[in-house]
């Protein structure tokens, strides 16, 4: 065993000073960043809105004709549910939007794969899609009516066309933007072209695909709203249209709330799916 350290390194017991409490620490610097978020803080905005709506309706400041009170809206919603009208129309609308969404997403993914993974594919398709993108789908409705009539086919087609664009754009960009470092890695590993696409390109593009899906979901509801305003005999938009002729503002508000809820729910569904599938991602949000 070594001899214990002695001499200059040892602090003699007598030399140790008595312990005194440390002086008051100087105040910490004022915090400039945002600070810790409150758990339910996001409810403040909608809560205030509800509060003002209620106060305005109860005091008579808001004309009940123009905007019914929150409790009248809830009562109307209860009536519509009791009559079954809300559920039937909601189911029809959701089905329409769902079909259009699936169709548009499939087409968008397929075309984006063709144009993203090959230069020639890109030359063929990308220019066409950029041209189509400049024309709002809703402006194409008169043509679509001529070609597809006014039945369900036309409505689903318009929704699919609106959904196609964001899915294509985000997927195409994601496929083309694969990190060059991974491409080099794949080359040094001697991966076949198919293995490269399967292991590097497709998984690397998935975050972009999900971003496209979130835009697509929003577009689907927007297109649904417009398409149901014209020539529909079923759906939430039809319910709103009828309410216009009967001056039933409360039904209109219920319909709008239904649309908003549908949008929120479907967006959350996409985000949940994204978190599950992209479980490998550690991002700022976690």
């Amino acid at each position: 065993m070594n001899a214990p350290l002695t001499g200059a390194f040892e602090i003699a017991a007598t030399a140790r000073p008595a312990w005194t409490p440390p002086p008051a620490s100087p105040p910490a610097r004022p915090r400039l960043g945002l600070g810790r978020p409150a758990p339910l803080g996001w409810l403040l905005g909608p809560g205030l809105l509800l509060f003002y709506w209620s106060v305005g309706s109860a005091s008579g400041f808001i004309d009940a004709r123009i905007l019914p009170s929150p409790w009248a809206t809830v009562a109307t919603a209860a009536d519509l549910i009791r009559e079954g009208r809300l559920q039937t129309n909601l189911a029809v609308s959701a089905l329409r939007a769902g079909e259009g969404f699936v169709l548009g997403v499939s087409a968008g993914l397929v075309v984006a794969l063709i144009s993203g993974l090959s230069l020639t594919g890109g030359y063929v398709f990308d220019g066409l899609v950029q041209m189509k993108r400049a024309i709002p789908t809703l402006a194409l409705i008169p043509l679509v009516i001529l070609w597809f009539g006014i039945g369900e086919v036309m409505k689903v087609t318009v929704i699919a066309l609106t959904v196609f664009i964001p899915v294509y754009l985000q997927t195409h960009n994601a496929l083309r933007a694969i990190d060059l470092r991974y491409v080099e890695l794949a080359e040094t590993l001697g991966l076949s072209r198919w293995a490269f696409i399967r292991s590097v390109v497709l998984p690397g593009a998935l975050p972009g695909v999900f971003l496209g899906l979130r835009f697509a979901v929003m577009s689907a509801w927007l297109a649904l709203v417009v398409v149901e305003q014209l020539n529909a005999a079923s759906g939430v938009g039809y319910m709103i249209n009828l309410a216009r002729t009967y001056a039933q503002t409360d039904v209109i508000v219920v319909g709008l709330v239904v649309y908003a809820l549908l949008g929120l729910v479907s967006d959350s569904a996409v985000r949940v799916a994204e978190t599950r599938v992209l479980s490998w991602r550690r991002s700022l949000a976690s």
């Binding site: 991974y182 080099e184 890695l185 080359e187 590993l189 292991s199 490998w280 550690r282």
Partner: protein, 247 residues
């Protein structure tokens, strides 16, 4: 018969010549360190050997073995694959999983095969990259400053690991590094690249009895060639307060 044979290699990027006639031989199983100042062309030479310099123009003759692996300065693990899948990327065959697990155990990551890359530290990620490079039994291992992004303590541990791996598997190794100490410690031969040409080619005898002194001398001369002051040297340098560490 050399594993690597390079003759008259030139590379340039839009008028700027980076490699101006490089001749290099590496014997099978030989560990060569390539040192040079920044911009001397070390990485360009390595990438040319790896076959991934599609953008560069130039001429020259390159012969490299078919089975080669590259280790980059960043680990380049695919974030969407777990550690084992990364280590066995591109491998085919029935025993892929066994080989992967064995390689991970060799680099000291046994038990971590189901982790995601982002859960590993920088050093651990680079170890997975090393495991990946070894699972395919390469005849040539190209390493482009593989430990440059790691802290000094981890770097020392990785030196020991690389030394052990190269002694076990015996590939030919070309290690590009800016760290002279690392080059002397690991390599059988140190090659100095300057202005696009090989300026020095110095073999290292790790078995010589007076290797400590010889290493110091080699270190001093390499640093001098690179134009860097040697803080360990006793000799007077530029006028100014002289400081030297005690022996």
């Amino acid at each position: 018969m050399s594993a690597v044979r390079v003759r008259g290699l030139t590379r340039r990027f839009t008028l700027r010549g980076v490699l101006n006639g490089v001749d290099l031989d590496i014997a099978p199983g030989e560990f060569v360190a390539l040192v040079g100042a920044s911009g001397s062309g070390k990485s360009t030479l390595l990438r040319a050997l790896a076959g991934i310099d599609h953008e560069a123009q130039g001429e020259g003759e390159i012969a490299v073995p078919a089975r080669l692996s590259v280790v980059f300065q960043d680990a380049r693990l695919l974030p969407w694959k777990r550690v084992l899948a990364n280590a066995t990327l591109g491998l085919t065959g029935a025993d892929v999983r066994t080989r992967g697990l064995a390689a991970l155990a060799e680099v000291g990551l046994a038990g971590r095969e189901d982790a995601w890359p982002h859960e590993l530290s920088g050093g651990e990620q680079q170890r997975v990259a090393l495991a990946r490079s070894l699972t395919r039994e390469p005849e040539l291992l190209l390493a482009d400053e593989p430990f440059g992004a790691l802290d000094a303590l981890t770097r020392l541990r990785m030196h020991a690991l690389l030394k052990r791996l190269s002694e076990t598997h015996r590939p030919a190794v070309l290690l590009v590094t800016h760290d002279v100490d690392e080059a002397i410690e690991l390599a059988d031969r140190v090659v100095l690249l300057e202005a696009g040409r090989i300026a020095a080619d110095i073999p290292i005898d790790h078995a010589a009895p007076d290797r400590a002194a010889r290493f110091l001398a080699l270190r001093a001369s390499l640093l001098a060639l690179l134009g860097v002051e040697d803080p360990l040297s006793d000799e007077p340098k530029i006028p100014g307060p002289t400081r030297s560490m005690g022996r």
